[in-house]
């Protein structure tokens, strides 16, 4: 880091749990953010402001007026732009040191594998189960930590999966197996409370930064449930499913 970076990140460096070594890890790190919407917006803003060296934004949508109520990466003057391009503009404005790469389409398994293989941490900020399962498969295959968030109406969920661990930690599919029959409720029709996306997306940024910097504890095998109407959190523990179609030893080729 140069003098300006040491100054810019000084309030992180002052934290013993991060320090110069942790901040250097952030500057050297590559984060992959799937979805540049309600969750991806705060997550990307915090990762960029905190100095994560390379951020890849993946999203196939364009900025729509109805997004602006909660998707704080975007703005009125960028309506109609791709979300990844709008996001790139926002992140560059905050921190020009960060290299922002853009993938302006929804990703399927094959391109996802290359993107995940190249990342140090993956943030799932997507809005559909097919993508969530594809991201999980790629993270298990390439042994990358995955910070998964979800928010709809007044309800949020957050979990961290880390298949780098040798102790058989669970994956997303252990928690919610891909059955094809889950009720898929989308923000587009169901609504979402604006700051709920901020709360969950910001927690994803926190866990991703901790993972990269090596700060504090990363709790795997635990799902946080937020009831935003009562503003109450519950967490539940879950283990690896020995029959998991994605991460059980028999499933990994």
């Amino acid at each position: 880091m140069n003098d300006r970076q040491l100054l810019r990140y000084s309030r992180h460096i002052l934290l013993d749990e991060i320090g110069i070594a942790g901040q250097q890890r952030l500057v050297d790190a590559r984060a992959l953010i799937i979805g540049a919407g309600g969750l991806g917006s705060p997550a990307a803003l915090y990762l960029a402001s905190a100095g994560v060296g390379r951020i890849t934004l993946v999203d196939g949508d364009t900025v729509d007026l109805t997004n602006l109520q909660r998707q704080i990466l975007h703005s009125e003057d960028r309506l109609g732009q791709t979300k990844v391009s709008s996001g790139q503009t926002a992140l560059r404005g905050i921190n020009p040191d960060v290299l922002v790469e853009t993938v302006p389409h929804r990703v399927s398994d094959k391109p996802l594998a290359a993107l995940v293989a190249d990342a140090d941490v993956v943030l799932d900020c997507s809005d559909n189960f097919a993508t969530r399962h594809a991201v999980n498969r790629a993270c298990v295959r390439h042994r990358k930590p995955l910070v998964s968030g979800a928010a709809i109406r007044f309800a949020g969920q957050l979990a961290v999966f880390d298949s780098r661990r040798g102790d058989g930690g669970p994956c997303y599919n252990c928690l919610f197996p891909e059955t094809g029959e889950a009720d898929e409720v989308r923000c587009a029709v169901m609504g979402v409370f604006a700051p709920l996306a901020g709360i969950i997306g910001t927690m994803q940024a926190a866990e991703a930064l901790k993972l990269i910097a090596g700060a504090g504890e990363i709790i795997v095998g635990r799902l946080w449930l937020l009831d935003g109407l009562a503003m109450e959190w519950r967490s539940v523990r879950f283990g690896q499913d020995p029959q998991c179609a994605v991460c059980a030893p028999s499933a990994i080729k």
């Binding site: 979805g35 919407g37 309600g38 969750l39 991806g40 799932d124 900020c125 997507s126 809005d127 559909n128 189960f129 969530r132 968030g149 979800a150 928010a151 709809i152 109406r153 309800a155 949020g156 969920q157 928690l175 919610f176 197996p177 059955t179 029959e181 889950a182 009720d183 898929e184 409720v185 989308r186 923000c187 169901m190 979402v192 996306a197 799902l223 449930l225 009831d227 109407l229 009562a230 109450e232 519950r234 967490s235 539940v236 523990r237 879950f238 283990g239």
Partner: protein, 83 residues
């Protein structure tokens, strides 16, 4: 007594976040409790059919055939997407 918590679309479906309930006679596991709740009719009937419905007993996720006992806290939650 059982403490039962409902999250996300489950909460919206049944119209409440939590309730206390005396362990019903003849109910020994999570699936039995879901059947008992379904007898309330209306929105409760479809509870057991929510895709990928998950249950935690005393903050530990369990299978629906897991036993329950007086004093347990149960939480029902679905997978949530939306980003």
């Amino acid at each position: 007594m059982l403490t039962i918590l409902y999250f996300a679309s489950v909460r919206e479906r049944v119209g409440r976040a939590a309730e206390e309930l005396a362990l019903p006679a003849g109910v020994a596991d999570v699936a039995g409790l879901l059947r008992h709740l379904g007898e309330r009719g209306g929105a409760w009937e479809g509870l057991a059919r929510i895709g990928n419905l998950r249950c935690a007993v005393n903050q530990q996720m369990v299978a629906l055939d897991s036993p329950i006992a007086d004093g347990d806290e149960l939480a029902f939650f679905p997978p949530v997407t939306g980003g």
